[in-house]
Amino acid sequence: MRVALFVPCFIDAFFPQVGVATLELLERFGVSVDYPLDQTCCGQPMANNGCQADAAATEALFLKNFSGYDYVVAPSASCTHHIRKHFDAIPQTEAVTQLRARTFEIVEFLHDVLKVEAFPWAEFPHKVGLHNSCSALRALKTASISEIAGESFSKPLALLSKVKGLTTALPARPDECCGFGGTFSVFEEPVSARMGYDKVRDFAQTEVEYVVSADSSCLMHQQGCAERLGLGMKFIHIVEILNGARA
């Protein structure tokens, strides 16, 4: 199995430890992982703003870096969503459609592909609140949502339940978007910040020590809000916990 690691630009820049944890975690399960050094971004920021022409060269570079692997794995549901559901600024050749189908978000990959049974090294004796990004929830469908009736399931919770000592608490509006939304966070700053405040306050009333998510972008936004509000909780990416981070 040839696996390439995609570390999205903001994780590369702001959360390198998330990249490290993803790499180490995959290696713990015997996966040999390539990290193409020339990788940058998947094209999502431009494409999300409708700027297909501006996204094309970045998507082409992504293709160059990542084609030919059995799987591309990224610790970001948002970027995975872009690659799988959009990523059409370049001609949809066989190589592109294969790449899109083979790109996985890390929780999906652990849960559905590696079918991980246990994380013996992981212990996190804290009360955490899980934040599912909207990409994870409504696009990749890694968990059931309240808008649709049906059987309830959660891949991230299934993984976290294998971590020793970890307990979870549910906020009042578990599926509510936190308001990051990419460039929305800057161009629609008032609403974005308000949504973030509401989200971290909702977590605060459950008295969690940590907010955990598979998306660093949501975490960055929420952390910025929580710090400004003077709320004490901390923020951590799910792979860090699964890779054995203690705090």
């Binding site: 570390v7 630009c9 994780i11 590369d12 820049a13 702001f14 959360f15 390198p16 430890q17 990249g19 490290v20 990290y35 050094l37 990788q39 940058t40 971004c41 920021p45 431009m46 703003n49 409708g50 700027c51 297909q52 022409a53 501006d54 094309a56 060269a57 970045t58 570079l61 959009h86 909207c134 409504r138 949502i145 309240s146 808008e147 649709i148 009736a149 509006r173 509510e176 978007c177 308001g179 939304g181 990419g182 460039t183 800057v186 161009f187 629609e188 700053e189 008032p190 609403v191 974005s192 910040a193 308000r194 949504m195 973030g196 509401d198 960055m220 936004h221 910025g224 809000c225 710090e227």
Partner: protein
């Protein structure tokens, strides 16, 4: 028309803290009630599939079903008029009223007449128009458009309503008891029902098979508007059609549950013909709908039954208020149909979304709302309607991200800037991010640098 400044208007909305908090909570409460209703109907998703299929089928043969409707309505004794656009609609209504010497028109809620800006048109021609829906009346008296398609005054606290009523219909100042306020409005409106020479309703549905106009309401004011005056006019968009009476049952089951989380509304009324000695006219309005039907990415927006569920669930709408869209239709459904009226003016609205997708999942007729929002962004960029700053930002981002060298360099510069610039500069002009949020401190090294240092030998 200049571009609507949704972000700026949201900031104003949020500044009124009590209203903002109430608005979000009230609409979220409706979303919760909707979820509870859904949970009681095991076949909910099946109903959505059927509703969607019926609407798509009908829209794909709209001409045929419209003619069937016209034939059956005419057989019933109603007169059917066709209006190509808002202007024709207003002219037809005005002609019907003025030919009969009508001076006062009572009407129930209709988004279509808002869309056609009918009220100011008629009032400028000496015809008094009285909105009889409580929320719509509040908005009329306050000289504001509706902020929600189902609950027009949802952004107002009862204290706000009390002030409007005290100022305009002489209710007791300071009395903000909900029952008192509702009664004041009823007492004020009732005489108009008796005086008015004409009544008007919109239509939630029209049924081809029966030629009926169907309204779904809770206050009974549509029934009064239609039945008390001698002349009854129903104004309906051509997309409101369903083929058969049996089809309607599916929509009735979905509508109130999706809209306000109640199993059914107080009144579901089928109007087929005028009362004895009266007249019934039906104005079928296109106003851009047939053009929308021809848009490959957007035609399914015509399936909309105007339930408002997408607005109730929308985290952006809940925190910016309907008036911040400066459009007849606010929220997610507004973001995908407003640009068909004026692309430039409404070009910010598809960007007033986090793309969370909740709207799509609650929509009872399965409109892929958030995907259409995404598609509009492309249209807006292609038509060069993005604000200059964003267009440039994306052009530069596209260049940086497509070159590993430029990307590494940009990261280095940003890190220097973040470390080197005084906090106030980051927090003020340079980056709106910092108005309400802390900026993350960049770590000592990027992942890429870590990898080169620690795993450099392997590729």
């Amino acid at each position: 028309m200049s571009r609507v400044d949704h972000a700026g208007l949201s900031a104003k909305f949020l500044a009124a803290e009590a209203n903002a908090e109430f608005h979000d909570r009230r609409l979220w409460d409706l979303r919760m009630k909707r979820d509870q209703q859904m949970a009681m109907i095991p076949e909910w998703q099946d109903l959505r599939d059927r509703a969607s299929a019926i609407k798509e089928h009908t829209l794909s043969q709209l001409d045929r079903y419209l003619e069937e409707f016209e034939a059956n309505a005419t057989k019933n004794g109603a007169t059917v008029h066709w209006a190509r656009d808002a202007a024709e609609h207003n002219e037809i209504v005005h002609r019907l009223l003025s030919e009969r010497g009508v001076r006062t028109l009572v009407k129930s809620k209709s988004m279509l007449t808002e869309e056609c800006e009918m009220r100011p048109y008629l009032e400028a021609r000496g015809i008094k128009v009285i909105e009889t829906d409580l929320g719509e009346r509040i908005q009329q008296l306050d000289d504001e458009p509706p902020s929600h398609i189902v609950i027009p005054a949802v952004h107002k606290l009862r204290g706000d309503v009390s002030k409007v009523f005290a100022r305009t219909i002489g209710s007791e100042p300071g009395n903000d008891d909900i029952h008192y306020l509702a009664k004041s409005q009823r007492d004020d409106t009732r005489p108009y029902f008796l005086d008015a020479e004409a009544g008007m309703t919109g239509g939630n549905f029209i049924v081809a098979e029966t030629g009926a106009v169907v309204t779904v309401t809770n206050e009974g004011n549509a029934d009064l508007s239609a039945n008390v005056p001698k002349l009854y006019i129903a104004c309906v968009g051509i997309e409101k059609l369903v083929p058969r009476l049996a089809d309607l049952a599916i929509f009735i089951r979905l509508l109130s549950r999706s809209a306000i989380g109640s199993p059914i509304s107080q009144y579901t009324s089928h109007f087929r013909k005028a009362r004895a000695g009266g007249e019934m006219h039906i104005v079928l309005v296109d106003n851009g709908r047939s053009a929308r039907l021809g848009m490959a990415d957007f035609w399914t927006s015509l399936k909309c039954i105007r339930c408002g569920a997408c607005m109730n669930t929308c985290p952006v709408y809940r925190r910016s208020g309907g008036l911040s869209y400066r459009a007849v239709y606010a929220g997610p459904i507004g973001a995908i149909i407003d640009p068909t009226f004026d692309l430039k003016k409404f070009s910010a609205l598809p960007f007033a979304s986090t793309m969370n997708g909740s709207c799509t999942d609650v929509c009872p007729v399965k409109i892929n709302i958030h995907e259409q929002i995404y598609a509009w962004r492309r249209v807006i960029a292609e038509q060069r309607q993005l604000p200059f700053v964003k267009r440039e930002a994306m052009r530069i981002a596209g260049r940086i991200f497509s070159s590993p060298k430029l990307y590494r360099l940009a990261l280095k510069l940003t890190r220097l800037a973040n470390n080197g610039l005084p906090r106030f500069a980051i927090y003020t002009m340079l980056n709106p991010w910092g108005h309400h949020r802390e900026v993350p401190a960049p770590p000592v090294e990027t992942f890429n640098a870590w990898y080169r240092a620690n795993r450099g030998g392997r590729r």
